[in-house]
């Protein structure tokens, strides 16, 4: 059973870490699979964690990026009240947008926490030997390409941790032409996820998916629920969904955990 912070608090207990799920991870069917995979890993390796459950709210990222600062400040105020109320110190999240906003934008509003994105968290668990990958796992020798999400990569300079995690799978990591700090956006950021794209010659996710498919990889690894959705649609537009899968690194690790 996954426990909420309220349940921990009722027993006067504090989990090792708060798992901030985020809106996509909570409601979007595709993203829920990432959430479940990550929760499964945490449970299996014995990390004590809590979720906020119904008390979690949108961080306000899409509102702020669209330009609606009032709404953002409202959401931030409420979330910080909740988090500080529980005395939260450490947060892990599967969403780079939540990660960025907690790391860079909540502190000056009074929300100061140690925040980790799940790729860094997984890398640590692997390094500490808490997460162990089974020998000859499903992805051994398979070609995987990694898509840098903007809010983990350029926004916060995290390029290595997710790649380290993928290396643990013994897969063959191939890079796209635009990778690392030159990585190309999936098209969802800045609240684009919630509106039609402006008129153009093609869609951003189509362009990016094409680049990923060109590497010949069978798996496109992502670290963001929005990227996952965008790239999945992009792969479909090229009618490659039977050959090429888009998976979050949490899903890849979960499928390769030692029994």
């Amino acid at each position: 059973m996954i426990k909420t912070m309220a349940e921990f608090a009722a027993n006067n207990e504090m989990p090792e870490v708060l798992f901030w799920v985020g809106c996509a991870g909570s409601f979007d069917q595709r993203a829920q699979r990432i959430t479940k995979a990550f929760a499964t890993i945490l449970t299996k390796v014995g990390v004590s964690f809590a979720i906020l459950g119904k008390e979690e709210m949108c961080t306000g990222d899409p509102a702020r990026r669209a330009g609606n600062e009032f709404l953002f400040q409202m959401m931030a105020y409420n979330n910080i009240q909740t988090l500080n109320g529980y005395g939260i110190k450490k947060i892990v999240t599967i969403c780079p947008h939540c990660f960025n906003i907690f790391t860079n934008e909540y502190p000056e509003l009074g929300g100061k926490y140690e925040v980790m994105h799940h790729s860094t968290f997984l890398q640590q668990l692997i390094n500490e030997g808490r997460v162990r990958i089974k020998e000859g796992g499903a992805f051994k020798g398979k070609k995987i390409t990694y898509h840098d999400s903007c809010y983990l990569g350029r926004a916060n300079g995290i390029y290595e941790a997710p790649r380290e995690v993928l290396k643990a799978l013994d897969a063959e990591l191939v890079e796209m032409k635009r990778c690392g700090s030159n990585g190309m956006c999936c098209g969802a950021g800045g609240a684009q996820m919630f509106k039609e794209e402006e008129a153009g010659t093609t869609r951003i996710n189509f362009e990016r998916a094409e680049e990923a498919i060109e590497t010949g990889a069978k798996i496109i690894a992502a670290n963001c629920p929005y990227c996952t959705t965008m790239l999945t649609d992009g792969v479909k537009s090229k009618e490659k969904e039977d050959d090429v899968k888009v998976l979050d690194i949490a899903e890849l690790i979960e499928a390769s955990l030692e029994d």
Binding site: G67, C150, M184, G190
Partner: protein
């Protein structure tokens, strides 16, 4: 040198520097029209950025070929300026090659080195012209550069060619004179062409030499005064711009303390300032026009080299959207210059019924941005087009309530359901209940 020549030279130099200074003061005034932003903390890291980004041109080297060529031109610019110093002193005091005697034989080495640079600059500039006009490299030949920007880029390259040729020709004349008099054979590169001119009379050689000398220095004065109107202003502004560049992670969006406080006072009215407290300055939410932007945004605009590296990596632009981060910077500068002209004419800014948003930058452009920061990462001069985009978007939403229907829906969902989609907040942890009990 003749006394008359000295006087003419001093007059020319004085006028050139005077006009330039006047324009620089004006540019500074324009930049300071922007909102205040304190960017002087952590001076150690800031100086490091000046060294790495401006002097070291770190980001240029993401694209090696133009980087190397640009480096020649840049080194040429910086070092040949030392020679210009000599020219200035010679011009004012009527001396000739004042550094020659004190430096002795070393002088020839130095000038030889400058000649190599001048030669490399010449080659680089020719390659640049070819890339722009014959190969038509995409980012250098897009439509947003039609008209002045395209002419500007080429003009600068032609001026460079003329200046470098004058310099080499002048030295070649001197080489030819030395050859004729049998007292030496000139400097490293120019000596190669000097023999071509030994057929001319000594008088003729001297006339050409002095013409080149004058042409070179007058060219430099003209160049200096062209700079503030050109994308080439970056050769000066890249340095302060690197110093004042942001030190926080690129993902951090600037806070709006006034909105933060408003929300705070709404939630906790007991914290609200009483009427006796001084009311903070109220300005517009976000930015409608250049005066609403930060002064750093405006310095950015004057520093932009219009190289288009930002646009060439912009996912919106790559996929055919109207948005181009370079155009955002060019528009900001054009509007700021227009506002500056307005102030020159009327003493104070008189409303001209125009603004940066709508008249220069359209809503459609602003809407296309994914806030991916690729433009910021790519810019070799530490410019942040995204910062301007964000502020203009804030204005559109908060002052004009100008949002696409889908964004209004998103906002109302966030407000009512605590998520951007229309789901019941009660279902937020439904996934947890669906998990296998063993997990």
């Amino acid at each position: 040198m003749h006394l008359l020549q000295q006087i003419v030279f001093i007059l020319c130099a004085g006028t050139a520097i005077g006009i330039f200074t006047k324009k620089v003061v004006e540019v500074r005034r324009n930049i300071l029209l922007g909102r205040d932003e304190n960017l002087t903390d952590q001076s150690g890291r800031r100086w490091r950025n000046v060294l790495l980004l401006a002097f070291g041109q770190k980001k240029m080297f993401k694209r090696p070929l133009p980087a190397v060529l640009h480096f020649f031109v840049y080194a040429g610019f910086v070092l040949i300026n030392i020679e210009v110093l000599e020219i200035l002193i010679d011009g004012i005091f009527g001396t000739e090659r004042i550094f020659q005697a004190p430096l002795g034989a070393f002088y020839n080495v130095v000038i030889g080195f400058f000649e190599i640079l001048a030669f490399l600059t010449l080659i680089a500039v020719i390659v640049f012209l070819i890339r722009r006009n014959i190969l038509k490299v995409k980012r250098l030949s897009m439509h947003e550069l039609d008209g002045f920007p395209k002419r500007d880029a080429n003009t600068i390259l032609y001026i460079e060619i003329v200046l470098m040729c004058m310099l080499l020709l002048m030295n070649a004349m001197e080489g030819a004179i030395q050859l004729k008099e049998g007292v030496g054979n000139g400097f490293l590169i120019s000596s190669l062409i000097a023999p071509l001119f030994t057929g001319l009379s000594l008088d003729m050689l001297n006339i050409i030499k002095h013409t080149c000398w004058w042409g070179h220095i007058l060219g430099i004065f003209a160049f200096l005064n062209y700079l503030p109107y050109s994308k080439h202003f970056h050769i000066l502004l890249a340095f302060p711009n690197a110093f004042y560049t942001r030190l926080t992670p690129q993902g951090k969006m600037a806070n709006m303390p006034e909105v933060q406080n408003e929300v705070l006072y709404m939630m906790q009215p007991e914290l609200a300032p009483t009427a006796t407290d001084a009311a903070p300055v109220q300005h517009r939410f976000g930015a409608k026009d250049v005066m609403d932007l930060s002064w750093k945004n405006l310095l950015d605009a004057y520093s932009c080299t219009e190289c288009g590296r930002c646009t060439s990596v912009c996912p919106a632009n790559i996929t055919g959207k109207k948005l181009s981060p370079r155009k955002i910077m060019m528009d900001t500068r054009d509007r700021l210059e227009e506002v500056g002209e307005n102030i020159n004419k009327n003493k104070n800014f008189v409303d001209d019924g125009k603004s940066l948003v709508h008249d220069y930058i359209s809503v459609e452009e602003l809407r296309a941005c994914t806030t991916c920061q690729a433009c910021v990462e790519a810019c070799p001069v530490s410019i942040e087009p995204l910062s301007i985009i964000n502020q203009l978007r804030r204005y559109l939403i908060m002052e004009e309530s100008n949002a696409p229907q889908e964004w209004n829906l998103m906002s109302s969902n966030i407000e009512n359901n605590m998520a951007p989609w229309k789901f019941s907040p009660d279902d937020r942890d439904k996934w947890a209940n669906e998990m296998e009990p063993s997990a």
